[in-house]
């Protein structure tokens, strides 16, 4: 099963999708697969909530992963060279900062979520806000995940290099700083993406989730 496990993991979902698609096609309900209708009928709250959840979830995953990688190396190196333990906490702090970025964005985004009754919800502005919060949250989350992992791996190398030769620490720290800037980029872009999005607000007339007439 070792060599063939990738066949199962890639092949089975693909096969199922093809079977379901062909079934819909051949039984005349091919138009049940309707992307436009999906986008127009999904509640903007769903998009917004998922975005914020991914934002904070992926940021914390990145921060935690980085701290795991760095922390174990600091512990190991600190047994024979105890002087490194205090200085190398800065790597842990850089990883932690990534989680803080996620929290900031989470707070900023959740301020835009206001209660609106169902029949007044589906205005163009609200659609835009929902989508912006989803993709903004995903952007920030992924940026922070990768940034946290990068800072963690570099921090681990910095700790071991510091244990071997104290002059190396500051030099490797520069690499870490550049790594942590990526999280900041994610934060900036995430803020830019929702700068044009208003809070969820009630529509003036009735605004229900109606698929447009071009889409059956």
């Amino acid at each position: 099963m070792g060599y063939y496990s990738s066949y199962y993991s890639y092949g089975l979902p693909t096969f199922l999708i093809i079977v379901i698609a062909l079934y819909l096609l051949f039984t005349g309900s091919g138009e049940a697969f309707n992307v436009g209708r999906f986008l127009e009928e999904t509640s903007p709250y769903a998009w917004a909530g998922t975005g914020i959840g991914l934002c904070i979830g992926l940021s914390v995953l990145g921060a935690g992963w980085g701290i795991m990688v760095t922390g174990s190396s600091i512990l190991g190196g600190g047994v024979r060279a105890p002087r490194i333990t205090t200085k190398n906490l800065i790597s842990i702090i850089f990883c932690e900062v990534v989680a803080i970025y996620g929290v900031i964005i989470g707070i900023v985004y959740s301020a835009k979520i206001q209660p609106v009754p169902e029949h007044l919800l589906y205005t163009p502005q609200n659609y835009f806000t929902g989508f912006a919060l989803f993709w903004g949250g995903l952007t920030v989350g992924l940026c922070n995940l990768l940034c946290g992992v990068a800072v963690g791996i570099t921090g681990s190398t910095a700790a071991l290099a510091d244990a071997a030769d104290p002059n190396l620490f500051v030099k490797i720290l520069v690499v870490e700083v550049f790594g942590s800037i990526m999280g900041l980029f994610g934060l900036i872009v995430g803020l830019l993406m929702v700068s044009a999005a208003d809070d969820f607000s009630a529509g003036l007339g009735v605004a229900k989730a109606v698929a447009s007439p071009y889409v059956l």
Binding site: S73, R80, L160
Partner: protein, 359 residues
């Protein structure tokens, strides 16, 4: 990709082993040690290094074998610490490191029994990292089959004995053949295991193990000149994982003197320097002298290449090669200390610089 998951299980131990490596003696410390007049001075100088007061409780006069034994004890303690804290697959990797010592112990016990030495003395002289439970029982066996069925089948090195069962009676030549056959099987097994661990462990270990295999091949060839070992038998002892496999191995199996060995090794660029700079001054020496000088130089060159490769293993993070390399470097250091101590004890200061410095 290995950096993402390696530290979860092995980050702490990697930090520890790199800390141990930082305690390996440097050139300046060797210089201090080489200037000692007596072994008591030597002990005092050593207490200022990472070794600390490991000889503090020894009664005077200290002997060089005590120094070597105590230093080995420290290495064994460090290895046991690493092994008890390791999980799979590092635990299996560390076990593979001990199999080499087990093979040496088994051969030592068989040889000792052949020459009718006392079993307790033999067991004491075994390397502590290669002990397994049924060791004293080895001493009562008389042929390999009995040995295998009663004792060796429970040890982890049992699969390596499959090739040896043809040696029906034990005598000195056959013992060496057994030892080399075991080592061949061990290296090939270790190589395969390292491959299964994936990059970068496999990259580092392949390099080191290929060199070790080639070193054995060259040594077997040179040592078999003038003995009754047939060329077929010689060819069967060569490991198949080195750079000299397969053409170099085939040619070395047919070689008859050291010049042919030199020519064969020229094919591998890293090994060209092993045979160069042959002593040209004393051209009047007989072939035997030249041969011995070349052989001695070769041994030194092998050791320095080994040290070089093992040092390089520390340049990569997130791989298991550092554990293997640390053991080998520490052993080289113990050999160096023993050499220096012997030179001091025998008052032969002119050869005291003939050790191989590590850092």
């Amino acid at each position: 990709m290995e950096a993402l998951f390696f530290n979860a299980n092995t980050g702490f131990l990697e930090g520890i082993v790199r800390g141990y490596k930082a305690g390996i003696l440097t050139q300046s410390q060797y210089a201090n040690l080489a200037q000692c007049e007596t072994l008591e001075d030597f002990r005092t100088q050593l207490s200022a290094t990472d070794y600390g007061n490991f000889l503090a409780n020894e009664p005077l006069p200290i002997s060089t074998s005590t120094i070597a034994d105590k230093a080995t004890e420290i290495l064994v303690e460090q290895f046991k610490y690493l092994r008890t804290n390791a999980v799979e697959p590092l635990r299996k990797f560390l076990d593979y490191i001990t199999y080499g010592y087990m093979i040496d112990n088994v051969v030592l016990l068989i040889t000792g029994t052949l020459h009718e030495r006392d079993t307790h003395e033999l067991v004491k002289r075994c390397h502590p990292l290669g002990v397994f439970d049924s060791m004293p029982v080895l001493c009562v066996a008389t042929n390999v089959e009995e040995l295998f069925q009663s004792v060796l089948i429970e040890t982890p090195i049992a699969p390596y004995f499959r090739e040896c069962l043809t040696a029906s009676d034990l005598d000195d030549l056959n013992i060496e053949i057994i030892r080399n056959t075991l080592y061949k099987a061990y290296f090939e097994d270790f190589y395969e295991f390292a491959s299964s661990l994936g990059s970068p462990t496999s990259d580092v270990m392949h390099r080191i193990l290929a060199f070790e295999a080639d070193r054995r091949t060259i040594n077997i060839t040179i040592n078999s000149f003038g003995t009754e070992l047939s060329k077929d038998q010689r060819a069967k002892l060569f490991p198949t994982i080195g750079r000299l496999f397969p053409e170099g191995n085939n040619q070395l199996a047919k070689a008859d003197d050291i010049d042919q060995v030199r020519q064969i090794c020229e094919n591998v660029s890293e090994y060209r320097s092993f045979f160069s700079d042959a002593p040209s001054g004393s051209g009047s020496g007989s072939n035997g002298d030249d041969f011995n000088a070349i052989a001695e130089q070769l041994e030194d060159r092998f050791f320095s290449t080994e040290v070089h490769l093992n040092k390089q293993a520390f340049l990569q993070q997130f791989q298991y090669g550092v554990f293997y390399s640390y053991m080998k470097l520490k052993e080289q250091e113990i050999r160096n200390l023993t050499w220096i101590a012997e030179c001091i004890a025998q008052d032969a200061k002119d050869r005291i610089q003939d050790f191989i410095p590590i850092f």
